[in-house]
Symmetry: C2
Subunit: 195 residues, 2 copies
DNA sequence: CGAAAATTTGACATGACTCAACTGGAGTGG
DNA sequence: CCACTCCAGTTGAGTCATGTCAAATTTTCG
């Protein structure tokens, strides 16, 4: 069951884990099943856990003072998700995370995570690359929110993740783009008209 | 001269570097002086270097198709800056970086950086924490751009970094907030009027 | 001091939002 | 297997936050 995690790590670090490394690591993960629409991380409560998405889809979001949800990120098969702020600061979570479908996760606690980083240099190396890539990606998202209008951001998004519209409802795509569902609907209408 | 880097690393990992670790590491950095307004990273050209800001201020930005600049981040004393996309992907840089003041940097090349990560576990650990924090911060910035209007983002910014207005011109603060200088001027006028 | 740059202000434009109504498909139960 | 309901998506009309253009004013600095 943990094969995907192993592949995920080995692919990122470009070298295999030894059997003993993998066994040590594997023992730190626990399997978690989350039903569709169930929330497994809640803003405001401590949540020092990271998750590997084995199968399914997750939705990390904030709720603003008017009660609107805004998508921070999606998580699909092979993604790592969690409230990394709470995870590493030990303060309350700043995001909500819920399953968009019935989802299988592997969870690792903060302490086990740090333990693994200490004991298995390849794991810390992997985590470094993970965060490095995630950071680079989020900077690009910030850059695009500055430079591009909503239509362009939508086009860029479906170019990078063509399957996204099939996996999540349109109002969540809108929320990820930082616009309202009505606006995305109009943008799409316009694109069709002009094509 | 490298004392600040040492302190910076030791503070993040919560333990001292040994003399030999520090000497090994120190040999990989070269000192770079950049004049005010000089650009030392340019979008479109390969730039596989990371910098530690010893003294001064830097400005990482993108230029959109209309020629407008948008601030991705500032770098002050003790910050690490660079085009991490180019650094780690080996592709052309996506950002411009220039000095806002006369600035002293310490530079480390990509190869030396990876070399240091391999040889000095504490260094990889440090880098992991660096990116982990940077990533968490950028997610919060994305969240705030969704949830808050420009006035609220400005208030949050000056609360978190009260010295920012003293160190950078207002039009750059506006650009960091994702608005025009005129809009920030009006926001400030409004705040004064209401206080 | 004087030129250039930054900031402010005014009048107007616009992209995205709001509110509200309508459409259509998916599921549910009689 | 039809009627009902629910919810995502679409559409229309009016509003609002921020942008645009342009000019005036203040600050910076050689």
């Amino acid at each position: 069951m943990l094969d995907h995690i192993r592949e995920n790590i080995e692919a990122k670090i470009g070298q295999p884990l030894t059997t003993s490394e993998f066994e040590l690591l594997g023992a730190l993960f626990t399997s978690v099943h989350v039903q569709k629409k169930a929330q497994f991380v809640t803003e405001g409560s401590l949540h020092r856990t990271m998750y590997f998405v084995e199968r399914g889809a997750t939705h990390t979001y904030v709720i603003d003072k008017r009660g609107e949800r805004h998508t921070i990120q999606f998580g699909f098969d092979g993604y790592w998700v969690g409230d990394i702020y709470s995870m590493f600061s030990g303060k309350p979570a700043i995001f909500h995370i819920e399953a968009l479908e019935s989802t299988e996760l592997f969870a690792i606690s903060h302490d086990d995570f740090e333990h693994a980083c200490k004991l298995i240099p390849k794991y810390e190396h992997f985590v470094r690359i993970l965060f490095q890539n995630a950071y680079a990606g989020s900077l690009q998202r910030i850059a695009s929110s500055f430079s591009d209008d909503a239509e362009q951001r939508y086009l860029t998004l479906i170019e990078k993740q063509p399957d996204l519209p099939q996996r999540v409802p349109q109002y969540l795509v809108a929320s990820y783009l930082g616009i309202k569902p009505q606006s995305l609907s109009r943008i799409r209408k316009n694109l069709v008209k002009r094509s």
